[in-house]
Symmetry: C2
Subunit: 190 residues, 2 copies
DNA sequence: TTGCAACCGGAGGCATCCTCCATATAGTAT
DNA sequence: ATACTATATGGAGGATGCCTCCGGTTGCAA
């Protein structure tokens, strides 16, 4: 996964170091235990004070978004890679499956992030938008090929998939998830 | 909505009174502000101590479930009433729409409740099960009429609708909800 | 009226989020 | 090297919300 090390306003070396350590620790914790991490634990594991964590990530949401940034970029890259696939429909479905798995893996962190309304111009907002743009291409291809209904909107499909992840958070059941996913796929088909 | 006043083991009059006041207060609060109510507030508004609330409803989930019980019974009744409708497909869709609206109204309280795994034999578990049974009849009718694919399972459809509610909790958008719902309906159609 | 089992209610323990500010330090100017 | 200062640190503690515990109260049966 690409390290999206964004070089922003000049920071002191120790600040930059702590920023990265905190983010890495959070990413690991989220991957392992889900999005409802305890920020105090992250700070301890990262070896910094809680105050330091809060300076770099003023709200819980900020930390989650920063951790999710990589995933958004990754999903965007995948969409672009799939744009040349022979079957437009399969490409779209594969990408949607990735969306589902990424969400399930990060324990709906993706969903938690996607669900929030981002202020225009935010780094995460831009990343999400460009991820959606890349996905929209897949959808358009499939629609142009007449395999997906013309009136289907990507936003709805994505949000539906996030809904699947959310609805299966408490009692995850692969069979159930698969069934729900198939239902959505059937719904977009011509 | 029918008052599901369940007369259980004999209780002192004051206990029974408080039980009902708390439940009514909680229901009103949930309808107005959603499922993430503050139990301390409920107790205060009901004019009882927090200890009293917790005696009657040992966990937050217990209170939510009790408040949801009526909705489950109502949804069951609606399903039974719709079983005689001329169009089996429309009947099913109407009922699913109810599911969606009830969830949105109670701010996904329904979803929160449905999502939890209930221990066998619980009052709420039985209510939910019989609600699902009633809904399953609608699905079977529509399937028998060849209007819904045979492999569609009710559980998946219901959970998908709860997912819609969950995914739209933060930033509710009627247009989005409608689009997602239509997508699901398209997905079950033959 | 009396006795007691059932019931009440709120103080307080615990977890978590987040703020504030006295202290420490990186980087720069001398 | 030294001093200076803008920047960064970190943990004490305030706020909120969940839930438990137990001394005091009360309905109700005899």
């Amino acid at each position: 996964m690409s390290e999206a090390t964004v070089t922003r306003a000049p920071r002191r070396a120790d600040a930059q170091r702590n920023y990265e350590i905190i983010l890495a620790t959070a990413r690991a914790a989220i991957a392992e235990r889900g999005a409802n991490i305890v920020l105090e634990d992250i700070a301890r594991d990262a070896g910094v004070g809680i105050g330091t964590l809060y300076r770099h990530f003023p709200t819980r949401q900020d930390l989650l978004e920063a951790a999710f940034l990589d995933e958004a970029l990754e999903l965007r890259a995948r969409a672009i890679a799939l744009a040349d696939a022979p079957s437009t429909f399969d490409a779209l479905v594969s990408w949607l499956r990735l969306q589902r798995d990424f969400g399930a893996h990060g324990r709906s962190m993706g969903a938690a992030v996607m669900n929030a309304k981002h202020t225009e111009g935010t780094e995460i907002q831009i990343a999400c938008a460009s991820m959606r743009d890349a996905g929209a291409v897949l959808l358009q291809h499939a629609q142009a090929a007449g395999e997906v209904r013309a009136e289907v909107e990507l936003v709805d499909v994505l949000r539906l998939i996030h809904g699947i992840v959310l609805a299966n958070e408490q009692a995850p059941d692969a069979r159930r998830v698969e069934g729900m996913f198939d239902l959505v796929i059937a719904g977009i088909r011509t």
